[in-house]
Symmetry: C2
Subunit: 232 residues, 2 copies
Amino acid sequence: MVEEVSTSRSDALDDTGYPDAVVDLLGVLAYGELQAFERLVSDAVLAPDLDSRAAIDGMAVGEFGHFILLRDRLTSLGVDPSYAMEPFTEALDAFHASTAPADWLEGLVKAYVGDGIGADFYREVAAYVDPRTRELVEHVCADLGHSSFVIETVRAAIEADPAVAGRLALWARRLVGEALAQAQRVAAEHEALVELLVEGGEGGASLAEIGRMLARITDNHAARMNALGLSP
Amino acid sequence: MVEEVSTSRSDALDDTGYPDAVVDLLGVLAYGELQAFERLVSDAVLAPDLDSRAAIDGMAVGEFGHFILLRDRLTSLGVDPSYAMEPFTEALDAFHASTAPADWLEGLVKAYVGDGIGADFYREVAAYVDPRTRELVEHVCADLGHSSFVIETVRAAIEADPAVAGRLALWARRLVGEALAQAQRVAAEHEALVELLVEGGEGGASLAEIGRMLARITDNHAARMNALGLSP
């Protein structure tokens, strides 16, 4: 707890003059990384052996490092990180509560596919904020760093038992559905984030640009599913 | 999984000539840190606010750093870390299963008092191993690094509600009891660790030295309880 920062959300914004949307973006991303860290660690017990378990824990620790970067950025903007994160805890907690993996493979697919979509979305939004924030968001989202372990493990599981592919593809679809449901909820409750996309930056994104953005996110998702050996 | 290392425990020991007890010490400590990391993260959700939750997560990440150091040391000795840890998973899992904290304060006391006793014990055993192993064990055990946060939080809770002190003191006694029960189990199953204490180093510890060791561990435990404002 840093004593000097503002103690209420709106004060913080008034004091700093930082756009609501930047604080929202950093806040949702920071809480997302903290949650991803904790969920990944709690899913690590599903691992079939100690090596895999330690690998998942190591991936999780990477997410915690991202959280620290985002939290420190909020603090340096004079914004209390907890106040920036608080508005997003419910939606992100709801996403994780509704997508608790039933086994090790579901946990891996969630880490790879779920985090991938999240990162794509945050990167798209970051195109409309100041360069320093954008750089930080891109750094955090680029460094997922756990793709090869996940890809190898999931592909090996499918090779050993091809029926696994259908089950995991369904699971990934459910993940996307739940993520979209929560994203819509966040959008409904946080106008600033939506306005950033529609009106932000150099006049904001046109409807055509938003269409292209959704197409890019969908394409990237399909590429990740293919990498795992799953039909999108 | 490192391919070059031995694939069975006894092979590893035969190949390297490293005493069983050193591998046991590094193995139990490595798994202890991995477990402490995961348990601390799962207890973090008990935190009353996001700042405290992130503080606990940060403490946990420190434990994961220790795990990595210990795992790498085992690998550099030519020992498969999983084979070194495996014999201790049951006893350590049983300890954590029987001491799941019911609330935030119990979690903090467990992290401070439980880890403290463990660290004291490992340090005492390390007096009888080679200097490089001893140095690593002392580094890992010295760097608990979370004492001031825990002490301040527990003392503030007792100040706000003095009845808390009695409940937490009982909880700490249960932790010690469960830890001793599992330590006895480990000792019964791992002669090499016991022999290290009794016969290791410069002729090993005499009975008088073992008595002094237990007195030191007890004294340190009492000092930690006092620091928290609890009667030992």
